[in-house]
């Protein structure tokens, strides 16, 4: 089980002939993902690791009927690729691309509101349901089947936590990287709602960062959840006014410090981990 993806998910890769796109096709195939097609305009008719390439999403939809797509195109084309998948009514769109302009994302988000699609990302590592399917760029070997759901704004930090959980014998139902940009398609709360309904998931780890109020915005929902949530927020040591790598990770005058977020979680009675190791200990206690 897990959320959003499983063995039956038919994945289309937008930007399949690029360096990163083609590399990740192979990785996903090795994981067991059902990659049914790819898109690169002008390269229709070719193949990448046995996967048919099409000129357009509509062309791919006609032939191979994908129900999810993952986007590896450069930032200036990312919004258009998302629009293309939305218009083809692809249900799940995962945008890995980092550096998509915010004005593009505002338009994309408004367009999504009246659509049948969900967007994960951009600037995210994608999502993995161990034993079922992986969409994105998370390293294959770290995952392990189990009952912990993970939702995170980070990339490599997420890998580290998944890795530690797995090595401690704690498997994951699904791990979702929602992306490190200020404007993203799917929020913590959206994913938490899915975990709450997923019978496979027994507890959730939420990994946040400085910047914005995405973490605080999820608190009201977490309080209503039956399942336990363990939160972790990085950037306690971040100075104000500086972007810490992720476009969204900045402590501005309006707030967004890690301590504010940690205090908000604690005030709401939500367990907060102090380090990846501490999270693993706390998850063990709960399960």
């Amino acid at each position: 089980m897990g959320i959003l993806i499983d063995k039956n998910t038919r994945v289309l890769v937008q930007g399949i002939t690029g360096r990163e796109g083609s590399f990740q096709v192979k990785q996903m195939q090795e994981f067991g993902t059902n990659v049914v097609g790819g898109v690169t305009p002008g390269k229709g008719g070719s193949e990448v690791y046995g996967v048919s390439v099409f000129d357009s999403v509509a062309g791919a939809v006609d032939e191979v009927k994908p129900n999810a797509s993952v986007i590896f195109v450069p930032p200036k084309f990312a919004a258009d690729s998302i629009f293309e998948s939305i218009d083809s009514e692809i249900g799940l769109i995962v945008c890995i691309t980092e550096g998509v302009p915010e004005h593009d994302m505002m338009r994309v988000c408004a367009y999504l509101e009246n659509s049948n699609s969900r967007l994960i990302g951009p600037n995210c590592p994608g999502l993995t349901t161990p034993g079922e399917s992986k969409i994105g760029i998370m390293p294959n070997p770290i995952h392990r089947e189990g009952n912990v759901g993970l939702v995170s704004r980070s990339g490599t930090l997420t890998y580290e936590i998944i890795d530690l959980l797995s090595k401690s014998g704690i498997g994951q139902s699904t791990s979702v990287g929602i992306g490190g940009d200020p404007l993203i398609g799917t929020s913590f709360e959206d994913i938490l709602q899915l975990f709450e309904k997923d019978p496979m998931t027994h507890a959730v780890v939420l990994v946040g960062e400085i910047g914005g109020t995405a973490e605080q915005d999820s608190i009201e929902y977490i309080k209503q959840m039956d399942k336990p949530v363990i939160a972790y927020v990085v950037g306690v040591s971040a100075p104000p006014g500086k972007t810490m790598g992720h476009a969204g990770a900045i402590v501005s005058m309006g707030g967004g410090t890690a301590l504010e977020k940690i205090h908000a979680f604690e005030k709401a009675g939500i367990t907060v981990g102090r380090s990846p190791g501490d999270i693993v200990q706390k998850v063990k206690t709960i399960l």
């Binding site: 930032p75 505002m106 980070s154 306690v236 040591s237 971040a238 810490m244 790598g245 380090s275």
Partner: protein
Amino acid sequence: MMLYEHAAKEIFSRYSIPVPEGSLTTRADDAGAIAKKLGSVVVKAQVTAGGRGKAGGILTAATPDEAVRDAQRILGMSIKGLPVKKVLVEEYKKPDKEMYLGITIDRKARRPIIMASTEGGVDIEETARSTPEKIFRVHINPLAGLHEYQAREVAYFLGRESSAQIIDVVKKLYRVFTNNDCTLAEINPLAQTGGAIIALDAKMIIDDNALFRQQVEEEEEDTLSGLAKKHGMSYVALEGDIGCIINGAGLAMATLDMIKQYGGEPANFMDVRAGASEEQVKTALRIVSSNKNVKTILINIFGGLTKCDEVARAIIDVSPEIKVPFVVRLAGTNEKEGRAMLERLGITFASSTEEAARKVIELGHTYR
């Protein structure tokens, strides 16, 4: 990227938003000539930092001589660490009324928001805290764009006297905001002076991710941050002595947090990004080690796209140049190969971020 006031005002002019007449100069003498033409002037330091007024970077001059003196005083001063190289000399306009008008992105609502206040010339964040009822907010649907009625609501809130002119400015500022990929387009103060509406200040921040489609000159930053950015990485200088190189922003922040938890002080934030190449890691090592405060270096890589053997090669290549000891943590793609390559160098290894943080601090103590 924040534009200089003069650059923002040039863009405003192109969209026919009224701004005071004025000229830019790097020489104090020119200020006199400009003032001769314009009469009473304001001499304004051109730096991309707030609080110029309080720092003495904005002075008024009634005569050309005063303008020269003001320009001399301002040119060469530093505001929040930024040297003032240029001044804008502008016609002085006495405002009868100062208002605030700004458009930014409401990240939570995921759409543009227009903010207007009858209290202009002061910090909007301060107004938001102390007298929120003095701020009018309206969200814009980014697909439909600004509706006429919304511009009118903003103008009526600011006062009916000049509503037609303000409606016009609101519509033009929204076009500035969208056409230039702004994350902020702000007029503070928007002044009413003798029946006319004029933008006395101009602030524009352009989304760095959209610079590829915007015609703005990017000034190269002559700093380690600038150097890192040029190579597709992100560097932030900090106060401590532990140099840090990590792939991924979240992991980097987590690593720094842990160093602090264990009593250490990071010298920097350095995110070499998820797909860092051998060349990038080399550059990162050179940047981080060029900081004289650095006593030890922690390299923390969780390979996904980044391959641990490439990182190892970069370390082997650059390490002869570097005089301080390392702690290296390598995990993920090609982890074994990378470790094997480095073992010969006698480098301290760690198997998790926490262990790496602990070990780099110990290492610092040992070498002190």
